[in-house]
Amino acid sequence: MSAGPASAHTTRAVAGRAPDVFERGGWTPMRQNADREAVDFAIVGTGAGGATLAAKLAEAGFTVVAFDAGPYWRPLEDFASDETEQGKLFWTDERLTGGDDPVELGANNSGRGVGGSTVHFSMVSLRFRPEWFKARSRLGYGTDWPLGYDQIAPYYDEVERALCVSGPIRYPWGPRRRRYPYREHPLNAPGELLARGARAMGIKWSSTPLATVSAPRGKSPPCVYRGFCIHGCSTNAKQSALIVWIPRALKAGAEVRDLAMVGRIEVDAAGLAAGVHYHRDGEWRFQRARNVVVAGYAIETPRLLLNSACPAFPQGLANRSGLVGTHLMVHGGNAAWGTFEEEVRWNKGPPNMAVSEHWNYEDRGKDFHGGYAFMCQGPLPREWARTVAGTRGLWGEGLHAEMEKYNHMAGLGPVCESDAQARNRVELADEVDSYGLRIPRVTYAFSDNDRRIQRHAVAYLSETLRAAGGRDIWSSDDTSHLMGSCRMGDDPATSVVDADGRSWDIRNLWICDGSLFCTSGGVNPSLTIQALACRVGDRIAAMARRGEL
């Protein structure tokens, strides 16, 4: 590990206080811990998994320090209404991507900062279809998770309440459920078009359950439909981990360390995790801990475990099975686009205000296993220009003409399930980053089934757009989300951690983020990540009470 990079930002969570995310220049008190005193839990990463678990564990009375490599933003003063400026939210440290279908990384799927990728996520908050947790035994593909829907359902409830998810009174898919805490948002024009298309195709649709409030909540004002959601919400309407779980964690006594990159997990002579080496304010430091939780998302989590290899664990930590980094999954996002006579103005409102999960719940008439949800879209000009230029290869007046149709465009984008394959994986490259840490190399290739799903989605979404009145339909390839890479399971030979996120090999080393997934499902992952984190938190508290930690 080397001296590390000079940071463009300065640490904010220091001297007994952390930024108050609800006030310009505001502060909130924060308990601090000494490096040399072992805390109960050192958590690496403060996104959907890490921040949620930090709150749960602190509220259960544990001492917690949560590290994040990125900055601690105050959205009201730090987030501009500008796509380019907000590039600062993304994880853009060097990574390599390869395989037959190299995954686009960076802004496409990972954030860097307190709150993690939820700071720039688009707030879609969907539950898994219950059968997906038992995909092998109930649907005949993939693997079974080591837990079932009944075990996770109460935690879906808990997260939906914690985020005050705004959604319809009756969501048309899935088991009976209580109504969403906040009323649904009004549909924007792209949502109306999805509804129109779905009606014409004879399938159900719904307004999307979203983690942005439709009415005031504490210091969060209702969403003002500015549409910059994936570039950070400057009003705090969005219920990100940064403004929901982190304040809860601090209030319960957790400490957050921003701009603190964890480079290695230390293992002691007994073969247990002893703490983390982290880089902050220009130097490497060591925090002692009785438990270490890795929650850096599906690339950085396996990378840290592999980079922590030591004589006792030469293949990396938690990796006796050799599975760390394997079975990585993304979602196919092969969208269809079309031009409409009416003014759509798709930049208004959150990008995905209407959804259909028809093909997640309909098993007949498919030439593939798995499914996909699809949603309306609302890209802003910079992103849209990249899609048009990159996909159509248009330039000159052709590009101008296509871009001038901006206010008349609409699109439907799927979240296509992908198979968990051993060959799709995260490994270490020889090259090192500015911290002196070996960088990750991601290898990806879709399976034949993945391609069949994507082909189905493109054809079906194109037809739906046409049925809604769209013309000049075309499609683009994309991926979103990262899942798997440290899968949970019942068997140490075929999984990295158990159903509680506890590693088989090192019993005080835990994983709590998107890398736990065994199958990807056809919905966005963050609600499930947060539900898993809430469950892990409760399980740890229960184990502690029984003296099983």
Binding site: S81, A107, N188, P381
Partner: protein, 197 residues
């Protein structure tokens, strides 16, 4: 082509509730401080200008949106998207080699530099690159990938990050603290662009 959104200027909202202080500061920087050449050679810079003029023509604009300076700045600052394909060189090398290869292609075909070619020859050459048809000199990334994924996407992204381009396509622009009220099909708020009928 007549203007689609006559008289509309995103910057007209500068002092309205659609613009907050941090956005004003960010845009003031983008509009005011166009970076000077640090990364490219003068020759590479001129070639990029010529490519820009062809790929994103701005002859109708009295004050063209600067593109080359921002590509130069991105490379000089080592910025990029934060990931690379296995087997491909780093951005700096991709750009240098790619630009040299485009000029090499012009010389091979016409014994002239790209900037000395007229629009039809430029167009024909670029179309061939888009189709992947080119001679040697394309180490690292191929002609189509350099032209589309590096050159064209970067230029389009920079162009459509400028308020003048937002006005041209009728995009609302910055929207904080005030967002939008009328979200339905065919509806618009008074602070949005009106389309010529």
């Amino acid at each position: 082509m007549p203007e689609r959104y006559p008289g509309y200027d995103v910057l007209g909202k500068w002092n309205s509730p659609s613009f907050d202080a941090v956005t004003r500061e960010v845009l003031a920087r983008r509009l005011g401080a166009v970076p000077k050449r640090r990364f490219f050679t003068r020759g590479e810079w001129e070639l990029l200008e010529a490519l820009g003029a062809h790929l994103i023509p701005q002859s109708k604009r009295a004050d063209p949106i600067p593109i080359t300076p921002w590509i130069d700045a991105m490379l000089a600052d080592g910025g990029g998207e934060g990931f690379h394909r296995v087997g491909e060189p780093r951005d700096a090398e991709v750009w240098r080699t790619g630009l040299a290869a485009i000029d090499g292609e012009a010389r091979r075909r016409h014994q002239a530099r790209f900037i000395d070619l007229g629009p039809p020859m430029r167009e024909a050459l670029l179309r061939d690159l888009r189709a992947g048809a080119a001679g040697d000199g394309w180490s690292g990334v191929g002609p189509r990938r350099f032209l589309i994924d590096f050159l064209l996407k970067a230029m389009a992204a920079i162009y459509y990050s400028h308020p003048a381009a937002w006005s041209e396509i009728g995009f609302g622009g910055p929207a904080s603290p005030r967002g939008y009220v009328r979200l339905q099909l065919g509806r618009r708020d008074p602070w949005e662009a009106g389309e010529a009928k």
